[in-house]
Symmetry: C2
Subunit: 227 residues, 2 copies
Protein backbone atom coordinates (compact mmCIF):
# COMPACT_ATOMS: atom_id res chain seq x y z
CA UNK A 1 0.00 0.00 0.00
CA UNK A 2 1.26 3.50 -0.76
CA UNK A 3 2.04 5.86 2.09
CA UNK A 4 0.09 8.70 0.52
CA UNK A 5 -3.65 8.96 1.11
CA UNK A 6 -6.03 8.43 -1.78
CA UNK A 7 -9.71 7.79 -2.32
CA UNK A 8 -9.43 4.42 -0.67
CA UNK A 9 -7.36 5.08 2.39
CA UNK A 10 -6.31 7.63 4.97
CA UNK A 11 -2.75 8.90 5.25
CA UNK A 12 -0.39 7.09 7.57
CA UNK A 13 1.36 9.21 10.15
CA UNK A 14 3.69 8.45 13.03
CA UNK A 15 0.84 8.26 15.49
CA UNK A 16 -1.41 6.12 13.32
CA UNK A 17 1.40 3.63 12.70
CA UNK A 18 1.66 1.26 15.65
CA UNK A 19 5.04 0.49 17.12
CA UNK A 20 3.95 -3.13 17.67
CA UNK A 21 1.79 -5.60 15.73
CA UNK A 22 1.89 -3.39 12.67
CA UNK A 23 0.22 -6.15 10.66
CA UNK A 24 -2.94 -5.56 12.66
CA UNK A 25 -3.21 -1.94 11.50
CA UNK A 26 -5.32 -0.78 8.59
CA UNK A 27 -5.73 2.62 6.93
CA UNK A 28 -8.36 1.55 4.38
CA UNK A 29 -11.40 3.78 4.55
CA UNK A 30 -13.81 0.89 4.06
CA UNK A 31 -12.33 -1.08 6.96
CA UNK A 32 -12.28 1.95 9.25
CA UNK A 33 -15.84 2.95 8.38
CA UNK A 34 -17.07 -0.60 8.98
CA UNK A 35 -15.73 -0.58 12.54
CA UNK A 36 -17.13 2.89 13.20
CA UNK A 37 -20.54 1.93 11.83
CA UNK A 38 -20.72 -1.20 14.00
CA UNK A 39 -20.65 0.90 17.18
CA UNK A 40 -22.38 3.95 18.58
CA UNK A 41 -20.41 4.60 21.76
CA UNK A 42 -16.92 6.07 21.53
CA UNK A 43 -14.38 7.27 24.04
CA UNK A 44 -13.53 10.93 23.56
CA UNK A 45 -10.13 12.05 24.80
CA UNK A 46 -9.10 15.65 25.32
CA UNK A 47 -6.64 17.59 27.44
CA UNK A 48 -7.83 19.75 30.34
CA UNK A 49 -5.32 21.72 32.38
CA UNK A 50 -2.53 19.61 30.90
CA UNK A 51 -4.06 16.30 31.95
CA UNK A 52 -5.89 13.74 29.83
CA UNK A 53 -9.64 13.23 30.16
CA UNK A 54 -11.50 10.29 28.60
CA UNK A 55 -15.29 10.28 28.50
CA UNK A 56 -17.71 7.84 26.88
CA UNK A 57 -20.22 9.42 24.55
CA UNK A 58 -22.35 8.62 21.54
CA UNK A 59 -21.18 9.36 18.03
CA UNK A 60 -22.15 9.03 14.39
CA UNK A 61 -20.32 8.99 11.08
CA UNK A 62 -21.41 10.92 8.00
CA UNK A 63 -18.95 10.33 5.18
CA UNK A 64 -15.54 11.45 6.43
CA UNK A 65 -16.96 13.26 9.44
CA UNK A 66 -17.46 11.99 12.96
CA UNK A 67 -20.05 13.75 15.09
CA UNK A 68 -19.94 13.54 18.86
CA UNK A 69 -22.87 14.56 20.98
CA UNK A 70 -22.80 16.73 24.07
CA UNK A 71 -24.43 19.49 25.98
CA UNK A 72 -23.43 23.09 25.49
CA UNK A 73 -22.62 23.17 29.21
CA UNK A 74 -20.21 20.23 29.26
CA UNK A 75 -16.49 20.86 29.56
CA UNK A 76 -15.26 19.35 26.27
CA UNK A 77 -17.98 21.02 24.29
CA UNK A 78 -17.17 24.41 25.75
CA UNK A 79 -13.49 23.94 24.91
CA UNK A 80 -14.26 22.86 21.36
CA UNK A 81 -16.33 25.97 20.83
CA UNK A 82 -13.24 28.12 21.35
CA UNK A 83 -11.45 29.52 18.29
CA UNK A 84 -9.28 26.88 16.67
CA UNK A 85 -11.22 24.02 18.18
CA UNK A 86 -9.85 21.37 20.51
CA UNK A 87 -7.35 18.55 19.94
CA UNK A 88 -9.13 15.23 20.50
CA UNK A 89 -8.65 11.52 20.14
CA UNK A 90 -11.78 9.51 19.43
CA UNK A 91 -11.51 5.78 19.97
CA UNK A 92 -14.06 3.09 19.16
CA UNK A 93 -13.51 -0.46 20.39
CA UNK A 94 -15.41 -3.67 19.76
CA UNK A 95 -14.35 -6.73 21.73
CA UNK A 96 -14.89 -10.03 19.92
CA UNK A 97 -13.14 -12.63 22.03
CA UNK A 98 -10.92 -13.63 24.90
CA UNK A 99 -7.89 -15.48 23.57
CA UNK A 100 -6.55 -17.93 26.15
CA UNK A 101 -3.18 -19.52 25.52
CA UNK A 102 -1.15 -22.04 27.45
CA UNK A 103 1.20 -19.28 28.61
CA UNK A 104 -0.05 -16.21 30.45
CA UNK A 105 2.21 -14.12 28.22
CA UNK A 106 0.49 -15.04 24.95
CA UNK A 107 -3.03 -14.31 26.18
CA UNK A 108 -4.74 -11.82 23.92
CA UNK A 109 -8.02 -10.28 22.87
CA UNK A 110 -9.83 -10.45 19.56
CA UNK A 111 -11.03 -6.95 18.84
CA UNK A 112 -11.67 -4.25 16.27
CA UNK A 113 -10.76 -0.68 17.13
CA UNK A 114 -10.43 2.69 15.45
CA UNK A 115 -8.37 5.58 16.77
CA UNK A 116 -8.91 9.01 15.20
CA UNK A 117 -6.76 12.04 15.97
CA UNK A 118 -7.48 15.64 15.09
CA UNK A 119 -9.01 18.92 16.05
CA UNK A 120 -12.69 18.90 16.88
CA UNK A 121 -14.85 21.91 16.25
CA UNK A 122 -18.33 22.73 17.34
CA UNK A 123 -20.96 22.48 14.63
CA UNK A 124 -22.59 25.88 14.26
CA UNK A 125 -24.20 25.75 10.82
CA UNK A 126 -27.90 24.95 11.38
CA UNK A 127 -28.14 22.70 8.32
CA UNK A 128 -25.09 20.66 9.37
CA UNK A 129 -26.40 20.49 12.93
CA UNK A 130 -29.71 19.06 11.70
CA UNK A 131 -27.87 16.41 9.66
CA UNK A 132 -25.62 15.57 12.62
CA UNK A 133 -28.48 15.22 15.10
CA UNK A 134 -30.41 12.89 12.79
CA UNK A 135 -27.22 10.90 12.21
CA UNK A 136 -26.63 10.55 15.97
CA UNK A 137 -30.09 9.04 16.39
CA UNK A 138 -29.90 6.86 13.28
CA UNK A 139 -26.37 5.61 13.97
CA UNK A 140 -27.65 3.75 17.04
CA UNK A 141 -31.10 2.91 15.67
CA UNK A 142 -31.32 3.15 11.89
CA UNK A 143 -34.64 4.68 10.87
CA UNK A 144 -35.34 6.25 14.23
CA UNK A 145 -34.91 9.88 13.17
CA UNK A 146 -38.09 9.65 11.09
CA UNK A 147 -40.09 8.50 14.12
CA UNK A 148 -39.35 11.13 16.79
CA UNK A 149 -40.18 14.69 17.56
CA UNK A 150 -37.16 16.63 16.35
CA UNK A 151 -35.48 19.24 18.53
CA UNK A 152 -37.30 22.53 19.07
CA UNK A 153 -35.35 25.83 19.19
CA UNK A 154 -34.87 25.70 22.96
CA UNK A 155 -33.54 22.12 22.79
CA UNK A 156 -31.31 22.99 19.84
CA UNK A 157 -29.78 25.82 21.86
CA UNK A 158 -28.90 23.37 24.65
CA UNK A 159 -27.36 20.81 22.30
CA UNK A 160 -23.82 20.95 21.06
CA UNK A 161 -22.24 18.66 18.52
CA UNK A 162 -18.55 18.28 17.83
CA UNK A 163 -17.22 17.53 14.37
CA UNK A 164 -13.97 15.68 13.74
CA UNK A 165 -12.97 15.28 10.11
CA UNK A 166 -11.48 11.83 9.60
CA UNK A 167 -7.96 12.33 8.35
CA UNK A 168 -5.41 10.91 10.76
CA UNK A 169 -7.08 7.64 11.62
CA UNK A 170 -6.40 3.93 11.62
CA UNK A 171 -8.10 0.68 12.50
CA UNK A 172 -6.54 -2.18 14.40
CA UNK A 173 -7.93 -5.69 14.37
CA UNK A 174 -7.12 -9.07 15.86
CA UNK A 175 -9.30 -11.95 14.70
CA UNK A 176 -7.35 -15.11 15.21
CA UNK A 177 -6.87 -18.33 17.10
CA UNK A 178 -4.82 -18.73 20.24
CA UNK A 179 -1.18 -18.24 19.36
CA UNK A 180 0.69 -20.78 21.47
CA UNK A 181 4.43 -21.07 21.34
CA UNK A 182 5.57 -24.34 19.79
CA UNK A 183 7.25 -25.44 23.01
CA UNK A 184 4.06 -24.83 25.01
CA UNK A 185 1.78 -27.02 22.92
CA UNK A 186 2.18 -30.07 25.15
CA UNK A 187 1.33 -28.23 28.36
CA UNK A 188 -1.83 -29.44 30.11
CA UNK A 189 -3.69 -26.11 29.98
CA UNK A 190 -6.79 -25.27 27.98
CA UNK A 191 -6.20 -22.93 25.06
CA UNK A 192 -8.70 -21.44 22.69
CA UNK A 193 -11.05 -18.52 22.20
CA UNK A 194 -14.08 -17.48 24.24
CA UNK A 195 -16.27 -15.44 21.88
CA UNK A 196 -17.61 -12.14 23.21
CA UNK A 197 -20.47 -10.26 21.68
CA UNK A 198 -22.84 -7.45 22.45
CA UNK A 199 -26.51 -8.22 21.98
CA UNK A 200 -29.82 -6.40 22.25
CA UNK A 201 -32.73 -7.61 24.35
CA UNK A 202 -36.41 -7.29 23.49
CA UNK A 203 -37.47 -3.62 23.53
CA UNK A 204 -39.34 -2.67 26.72
CA UNK A 205 -42.07 -0.09 26.02
CA UNK A 206 -42.47 2.80 28.42
CA UNK A 207 -45.43 2.10 30.73
CA UNK A 208 -48.49 4.05 29.70
CA UNK A 209 -47.11 5.25 26.39
CA UNK A 210 -47.27 1.97 24.55
CA UNK A 211 -47.74 1.72 20.84
CA UNK A 212 -46.99 -1.04 18.37
CA UNK A 213 -43.30 -1.83 18.04
CA UNK A 214 -42.11 0.00 14.95
CA UNK A 215 -40.66 -1.90 12.02
CA UNK A 216 -37.13 -0.63 12.68
CA UNK A 217 -37.13 -2.14 16.18
CA UNK A 218 -38.37 -5.61 15.17
CA UNK A 219 -35.55 -8.15 15.23
CA UNK A 220 -33.36 -5.15 15.99
CA UNK A 221 -29.83 -6.25 15.14
CA UNK A 222 -30.83 -9.65 16.53
CA UNK A 223 -27.64 -11.33 17.60
CA UNK A 224 -25.72 -8.70 15.74
CA UNK A 225 -23.20 -6.11 16.69
CA UNK A 226 -24.00 -3.36 19.12
CA UNK A 227 -22.18 -0.61 20.92
Amino acid sequence: MPDAPDDQQYARTARTTPTRYRERADWEKAAIHAVLDSAWVCHLGFVADGAPVVLPTIFARVGDRLYVHGSTGSRPLRAAGAPGGMPVCITVTQVDGLVLTKSAFNHSVNFRSVVAHGTAEQVTDPAELAVALDALVDHAVPGRSGDVRRANPKELAATAVLRLVLDEVSAKTRDDLADDDEEDLGLPYWSGVVPVRTVYGAPVPHPGTERELPEYLRDFRAGGAAC
Copy 2:
Protein backbone atom coordinates in the same frame (compact mmCIF):
# COMPACT_ATOMS: atom_id res chain seq x y z
CA MET B 1 -22.39 12.51 51.93
CA PRO B 2 -19.34 14.31 53.29
CA ASP B 3 -16.85 15.87 50.89
CA ALA B 4 -13.87 14.32 52.63
CA PRO B 5 -12.76 10.83 51.66
CA ASP B 6 -13.10 8.04 54.19
CA ASP B 7 -13.01 4.26 54.24
CA GLN B 8 -16.19 4.09 52.21
CA GLN B 9 -15.65 6.64 49.50
CA TYR B 10 -13.13 8.51 47.41
CA ALA B 11 -12.62 12.26 47.67
CA ARG B 12 -14.62 14.48 45.39
CA THR B 13 -12.67 16.96 43.30
CA ALA B 14 -13.61 19.44 40.63
CA ARG B 15 -12.92 16.96 37.87
CA THR B 16 -14.75 14.05 39.49
CA THR B 17 -17.83 16.19 40.08
CA PRO B 18 -19.87 16.36 36.88
CA THR B 19 -21.19 19.68 35.69
CA ARG B 20 -24.40 17.97 34.57
CA TYR B 21 -26.56 15.14 35.92
CA ARG B 22 -24.77 15.28 39.25
CA GLU B 23 -27.31 12.85 40.69
CA ARG B 24 -25.84 10.15 38.46
CA ALA B 25 -22.40 10.46 40.04
CA ASP B 26 -21.11 8.26 42.84
CA TRP B 27 -17.89 8.31 44.88
CA GLU B 28 -18.65 5.22 46.96
CA LYS B 29 -15.81 2.74 46.76
CA ALA B 30 -18.16 -0.25 46.61
CA ALA B 31 -20.08 1.18 43.66
CA ILE B 32 -16.91 2.13 41.80
CA HIS B 33 -15.27 -1.24 42.41
CA ALA B 34 -18.39 -3.06 41.22
CA VAL B 35 -18.29 -1.29 37.86
CA LEU B 36 -14.55 -1.88 37.52
CA ASP B 37 -14.88 -5.55 38.38
CA SER B 38 -17.65 -6.08 35.82
CA ALA B 39 -15.30 -5.17 32.98
CA TRP B 40 -11.81 -6.05 31.80
CA VAL B 41 -11.26 -3.58 28.96
CA CYS B 42 -10.61 0.07 29.74
CA HIS B 43 -9.73 3.11 27.69
CA LEU B 44 -6.40 4.58 28.73
CA GLY B 45 -5.90 8.27 28.01
CA PHE B 46 -2.57 10.06 28.09
CA VAL B 47 -0.99 13.12 26.50
CA ALA B 48 1.67 12.77 23.82
CA ASP B 49 3.27 15.89 22.32
CA GLY B 50 0.47 17.96 23.81
CA ALA B 51 -2.32 15.96 22.18
CA PRO B 52 -4.64 13.39 23.74
CA VAL B 53 -4.29 9.68 22.94
CA VAL B 54 -6.91 7.09 23.90
CA LEU B 55 -6.12 3.40 23.59
CA PRO B 56 -8.14 0.35 24.61
CA THR B 57 -6.33 -2.09 26.85
CA ILE B 58 -6.98 -4.72 29.50
CA PHE B 59 -6.88 -3.88 33.18
CA ALA B 60 -7.38 -5.38 36.61
CA ARG B 61 -8.17 -4.03 40.06
CA VAL B 62 -6.38 -5.10 43.23
CA GLY B 63 -7.77 -3.19 46.20
CA ASP B 64 -7.28 0.49 45.48
CA ARG B 65 -4.90 -0.13 42.61
CA LEU B 66 -5.65 -0.40 38.91
CA TYR B 67 -3.17 -2.28 36.76
CA VAL B 68 -2.99 -1.73 33.03
CA HIS B 69 -1.14 -4.10 30.76
CA GLY B 70 1.29 -3.20 28.02
CA SER B 71 4.53 -3.98 26.33
CA THR B 72 7.76 -2.36 27.41
CA GLY B 73 8.06 -1.06 23.84
CA SER B 74 4.70 0.70 23.65
CA ARG B 75 4.54 4.48 23.85
CA PRO B 76 2.45 4.96 27.00
CA LEU B 77 4.46 2.38 28.90
CA ARG B 78 7.74 4.03 28.00
CA ALA B 79 6.38 7.41 29.15
CA ALA B 80 5.11 5.97 32.42
CA GLY B 81 8.51 4.51 33.14
CA ALA B 82 9.99 8.00 33.24
CA PRO B 83 10.65 9.61 36.62
CA GLY B 84 7.45 10.99 38.10
CA GLY B 85 5.23 8.74 36.02
CA MET B 86 2.62 9.84 33.52
CA PRO B 87 -0.71 11.62 33.96
CA VAL B 88 -3.48 9.32 32.79
CA CYS B 89 -7.23 9.01 32.70
CA ILE B 90 -8.59 5.47 32.80
CA THR B 91 -12.22 5.06 31.81
CA VAL B 92 -14.37 1.94 32.00
CA THR B 93 -17.80 1.92 30.38
CA GLN B 94 -20.60 -0.65 30.39
CA VAL B 95 -23.58 0.04 28.15
CA ASP B 96 -26.87 -1.38 29.44
CA GLY B 97 -29.53 0.07 27.21
CA LEU B 98 -30.66 2.41 24.49
CA VAL B 99 -33.25 4.80 25.87
CA LEU B 100 -35.64 5.97 23.14
CA THR B 101 -37.97 8.84 23.92
CA LYS B 102 -40.64 10.55 21.90
CA SER B 103 -38.35 13.54 21.36
CA ALA B 104 -34.91 13.18 19.82
CA PHE B 105 -33.59 15.50 22.54
CA ASN B 106 -34.46 13.22 25.46
CA HIS B 107 -32.88 10.10 23.96
CA SER B 108 -30.33 8.64 26.34
CA VAL B 109 -28.24 5.63 27.22
CA ASN B 110 -28.39 3.41 30.27
CA PHE B 111 -24.81 2.82 31.33
CA ARG B 112 -22.32 2.42 34.15
CA SER B 113 -18.95 4.12 33.85
CA VAL B 114 -15.93 4.89 35.98
CA VAL B 115 -13.42 7.65 35.27
CA ALA B 116 -10.14 7.60 37.22
CA HIS B 117 -7.56 10.40 37.09
CA GLY B 118 -4.02 10.30 38.36
CA THR B 119 -0.41 9.58 37.66
CA ALA B 120 0.45 6.10 36.45
CA GLU B 121 3.77 4.53 37.27
CA GLN B 122 5.43 1.45 35.92
CA VAL B 123 5.46 -1.51 38.29
CA THR B 124 9.06 -2.47 38.93
CA ASP B 125 8.91 -4.51 42.14
CA PRO B 126 8.99 -8.19 41.07
CA ALA B 127 6.51 -9.26 43.77
CA GLU B 128 4.01 -6.58 42.79
CA LEU B 129 4.51 -7.41 39.11
CA ALA B 130 3.68 -11.07 39.77
CA VAL B 131 0.49 -10.08 41.63
CA ALA B 132 -0.47 -7.67 38.86
CA LEU B 133 0.06 -10.20 36.05
CA ASP B 134 -2.03 -12.83 37.81
CA ALA B 135 -4.71 -10.21 38.46
CA LEU B 136 -4.78 -9.21 34.79
CA VAL B 137 -5.46 -12.81 33.81
CA ASP B 138 -7.96 -13.47 36.60
CA HIS B 139 -9.85 -10.21 36.14
CA ALA B 140 -11.04 -11.40 32.73
CA VAL B 141 -11.26 -15.11 33.60
CA PRO B 142 -11.41 -15.78 37.35
CA GLY B 143 -9.32 -18.83 38.19
CA ARG B 144 -7.29 -18.75 35.01
CA SER B 145 -3.96 -17.75 36.58
CA GLY B 146 -3.73 -21.18 38.24
CA ASP B 147 -4.09 -22.94 34.89
CA VAL B 148 -1.43 -21.35 32.69
CA ARG B 149 2.31 -21.33 32.32
CA ARG B 150 3.41 -18.19 34.10
CA ALA B 151 5.82 -15.76 32.46
CA ASN B 152 9.46 -16.79 32.18
CA PRO B 153 12.26 -14.23 32.70
CA LYS B 154 12.43 -13.29 29.01
CA GLU B 155 8.67 -12.73 28.86
CA LEU B 156 8.71 -10.79 32.11
CA ALA B 157 11.34 -8.47 30.68
CA ALA B 158 9.10 -7.73 27.70
CA THR B 159 6.02 -7.07 29.82
CA ALA B 160 5.27 -3.75 31.44
CA VAL B 161 2.43 -3.01 33.80
CA LEU B 162 1.21 0.42 34.83
CA ARG B 163 -0.18 1.11 38.27
CA LEU B 164 -2.74 3.81 39.00
CA VAL B 165 -3.72 4.23 42.63
CA LEU B 166 -7.45 4.94 42.84
CA ASP B 167 -7.83 8.29 44.50
CA GLU B 168 -9.50 10.80 42.21
CA VAL B 169 -12.23 8.63 40.77
CA SER B 170 -15.98 8.55 40.35
CA ALA B 171 -18.69 6.38 38.88
CA LYS B 172 -21.60 7.56 36.80
CA THR B 173 -24.72 5.52 36.22
CA ARG B 174 -28.01 5.84 34.40
CA ASP B 175 -30.47 2.99 34.93
CA ASP B 176 -33.89 4.30 34.22
CA LEU B 177 -36.91 4.38 31.99
CA ALA B 178 -37.39 6.69 29.05
CA ASP B 179 -37.82 10.21 30.36
CA ASP B 180 -40.45 11.80 28.16
CA ASP B 181 -41.55 15.37 28.64
CA GLU B 182 -45.13 15.63 29.86
CA GLU B 183 -46.22 17.45 26.73
CA ASP B 184 -44.72 14.75 24.49
CA LEU B 185 -46.60 11.82 26.02
CA GLY B 186 -49.41 11.92 23.47
CA LEU B 187 -47.11 11.86 20.45
CA PRO B 188 -47.41 8.79 18.23
CA TYR B 189 -43.80 7.62 18.61
CA TRP B 190 -42.54 4.51 20.36
CA SER B 191 -40.69 5.16 23.60
CA GLY B 192 -38.97 2.72 25.86
CA VAL B 193 -35.68 0.96 26.48
CA VAL B 194 -33.80 -1.50 24.29
CA PRO B 195 -31.61 -3.56 26.66
CA VAL B 196 -27.98 -4.02 25.64
CA ARG B 197 -25.70 -6.61 27.10
CA THR B 198 -22.37 -8.25 26.44
CA VAL B 199 -22.39 -12.04 26.42
CA TYR B 200 -19.89 -14.85 26.03
CA GLY B 201 -20.23 -17.65 23.50
CA ALA B 202 -19.22 -21.26 24.01
CA PRO B 203 -15.42 -21.55 24.33
CA VAL B 204 -13.76 -22.76 21.11
CA PRO B 205 -10.76 -24.98 21.86
CA HIS B 206 -7.62 -24.48 19.82
CA PRO B 207 -7.42 -27.20 17.13
CA GLY B 208 -4.98 -29.92 18.08
CA THR B 209 -4.47 -28.79 21.64
CA GLU B 210 -7.82 -29.82 23.01
CA ARG B 211 -8.34 -30.81 26.58
CA GLU B 212 -11.43 -30.96 28.73
CA LEU B 213 -13.02 -27.57 29.34
CA PRO B 214 -11.83 -26.45 32.77
CA GLU B 215 -14.29 -25.81 35.56
CA TYR B 216 -13.72 -22.05 35.44
CA LEU B 217 -14.84 -21.90 31.80
CA ARG B 218 -18.05 -23.90 32.22
CA ASP B 219 -21.11 -21.67 32.11
CA PHE B 220 -18.57 -18.85 32.00
CA ARG B 221 -20.49 -15.76 33.07
CA ALA B 222 -23.41 -17.20 31.12
CA GLY B 223 -25.61 -14.31 30.18
CA GLY B 224 -23.68 -12.13 32.57
CA ALA B 225 -21.62 -9.04 32.24
CA ALA B 226 -18.51 -8.94 30.13
CA CYS B 227 -16.02 -6.41 28.90
